[in-house]
Symmetry: C2
Subunit: 438 residues, 2 copies
């Protein structure tokens, strides 16, 4: 395990309360284990079977073999929400955060999520420089097959590329639910498809073909991502609740949410993890933000996820967090064991900050994080910690699986369906009416 | 005016309450006007004098003349919090959001805010490709002159660049408070400096040399940014409170915050504005998030700012916003008058979404936004709207000034000092102790 969870002395939850919550989740832990044992995709929780699905891995690697050559420069990932946030979280952590510094590193993934004419116009100029269609690969992802933004972006993109490459559909892979209308249409057009198991919802789909295919195409070792997830799954199914990181994190979050804290802040001391924070925003927002509980009572429950970046946001919302309302439960996420190669010189040109001469850059960041944790404790602000050994495919897989299982436990504790998102329809209905009336 | 504010029928505030709040702010509006009339930098509010400061503009343009040649490729903006969030918000809105699509457009600004060894290692590889020092310009910004991250980043950067360019300090401009220790040291080393007026705090400093110099160096017409701010200032000092957008927005936000809504969401239907949302996070977080009120009572007050992107986040936190806790006041920010050049084809390859054939991309986005607004109204969720005519220097200047004046009114309504940030010291003290003990 490259990722460890800790909470003692900082989570501000009575031990007996924690034990009671852990004990209330025993039955659900058994249910999760039975889902793993079934090796099927029948239950709402069955995304947890993705990491050990050998035929999924095989189908993704086969498609990669077919579509990716050393000439590949740009992967156009067309998808929104659960169809791209997981992919973006892994890609950005390993490559994307640095793409502007590495103009000659390829392949790069470009994400088309919302519809933006401004973005598209600049993208089309870039694509005009492509002379060989092997340099591009389009992956359009829509679980339902009918996502407005994704279909709109895909249609405009294909229309544009067809002018130069009449047979551009060779370079398109569609990822969707087996037998969705999009699946059927792709088959009619002889376009390659990858399936998403029906029961695996968008926000739990990063380890399905949704995330695995574009990540593999970008050169990321998806086997290690899956290995990390599979190992973490075991820990997060532990019957000993007090040794189960997902259950503990859920219990502590829920406890504070019921005691007036309606914001859960993920505070990443590694700026390349901001996108994984955005993935977790969806996971939390859609899973717990519910009008109705499981008995149909109107409850308007949930907790609002925020993403902070250390040390950047200490100079932004640090004042609010330390001095403002006591309405947050925080998780600090950081690395402990990355190589520390760079140091400050022993003699500074600007000797204006004491104690940094000769220090390693990572030592300075560690001192800032340590200072923040002490300040939080002194202010009585509850927090948990997730320590990555280092940021790589395996630890990212571990973190993703940890958080998805945490969310399933949270669904139980909030007494809501952690797998649906009925209110998203409220605006879609209106949008559809407007589009059809013009 | 390229930017308009609206709230009627959606802000869910009784008209007489609004009138009372407006009337309570009349005296403060007069005080703000007297600050403008003074044309000095004596009051905490005096950042509002920056847009009409001709000598500031002159000094920035003179420095640009001296430092920027057509060879310039990378501006290294070394600063954190108030020293870079404003710059980044304007740069990203106009260029940065598209930088990955435009590898050959220069100059680009690269931001060094937090200390990241991983980022620095990739940056140093990029800088190794630079053969002429005119291709780079470093702007290090620290109001106090003693910001740990900024000094650390600057020292490591200079140490690295000196190996290739022994006289690299020619290519450095330092922006800091006049007569800070950093200012004095820069003078000793004969490094060029630009001043920040003492009373202009970091989060209100975007229209000082802090933002103006790097933006001008990047080719942005700062005169139009200032013109927008100056025009907006007049509206936001209107004695008629019900015609004063900053006062209205403050009144509505405060009213809801006192009625159980502890989150203020800025929902941008233009993804290139995400960084301006992050700038506003600091502005709100540091200005209002306070342990003490103006009388010294312990209040732990404030409101937590969040940033959402339309339509992306409808597929992420839309479910939470529409179905979850009623704890948010929202501002939708969008454009109304950008050119609409791109349309969907009349015959779709994937005819799976009704009503989008032949539609312009901007029409689809407008229908989604309209659908969201109707859904918010039906759910009884309060919101305001800011409409940009289009995104350009002038409208960005208008928006920045609008929000800075809104924050000053909010400081009055929350009864806190909107210009200090005492709790940031809490972790800095601990960090300093740790660094000095090793």
């Amino acid at each position: 395990m490259l990722t460890t969870f800790s909470y003692k002395n900082s989570a501000l939850i009575p031990q007996n309360t924690l034990e009671e919550i852990a004990s209330s989740l025993k039955e659900y832990t058994r249910r999760l284990q039975s889902v793993v044992d079934s090796k099927t995709y029948d239950a709402p929780e069955s995304s947890i079977n993705l990491p050990s699905d050998a035929s999924l891995l095989d189908s993704v690697l086969t498609m990669k073999e077919k579509k990716v050559s050393p000439q590949l420069r740009y992967i156009l990932d067309v998808g929104i929400g659960g169809s791209n946030l997981g992919t973006k979280s892994v890609y950005d952590a390993l490559f994307g955060f640095y793409d502007i510094l590495q103009p000659d590193r390829f392949p790069k993934i470009l994400f088309l999520d919302t519809v933006s004419e401004d973005f598209f116009i600049k993208l089309s100029s870039l694509l005009e420089s492509i002379s060989n269609k092997e340099e591009i690969l389009i992956n359009a992802i829509s679980k339902s097959g009918g996502t407005t933004e994704t279909i709109a972006n895909l249609e405009v993109l294909l229309e544009f590329l067809k002018k130069t490459f009449p047979d551009i559909s060779d370079r398109l892979v569609i990822t969707t639910d087996e037998n969705s209308k999009l699946w059927q249409r792709a088959k009619e057009l002889q376009i390659d498809v990858l399936p998403i198991p029906k029961q695996v919802g968008g926000r739990y789909s990063v380890l399905s073909a949704v995330g695995l295919f574009p990540l593999a195409a970008a050169g990321i070792t998806i086997e290690r991502l899956l290995k990390g997830a599979e190992e973490m799954r075991e820990f997060c199914l532990s019957q000993d609740g007090l040794a189960n990181p997902a259950l503990l994190s859920a219990a502590i979050t829920h406890f504070h949410s019921k005691n007036g804290k309606n914001i859960t802040d993920s505070f990443f001391f590694a700026p390349q993890l901001e996108s994984i924070g955005k993935w977790y925003r969806q996971l939390t927002g859609e899973s717990l933000g519910k009008e109705h509980d499981l008995q149909g009572n109107v409850v308007h429950t949930g907790i609002t996820p925020t993403v902070s970046i250390g040390s950047t946001d200490l100079h932004s919302v640090g004042q609010l967090y330390l001095g403002g309302p006591r309405d947050k439960i925080t998780t600090f996420i950081y690395t402990t064991n990355e190589p520390a190669l760079l140091s400050l010189p022993s003699s500074l040109q600007f000797p204006l900050v004491e104690g940094i001469e000769n220090k390693k850059l990572r030592e300075i960041m560690a001192a800032i994080l340590e200072g923040v944790k002490i300040a939080y404790q002194k202010q009585g602000l509850p927090f948990m910690e997730v320590a990555f050994d280092s940021i790589n495919e395996q630890s990212l897989g571990e973190f993703l699986q940890f958080k998805m299982l945490e969310m399933m436990y949270l669904g139980q504790l909030f007494n809501v369906n952690a797998f649906d998102q009925p209110h998203v329809e409220l605006y879609k209905v209106e949008t559809k009416r407007i589009l059809n009336s013009k």
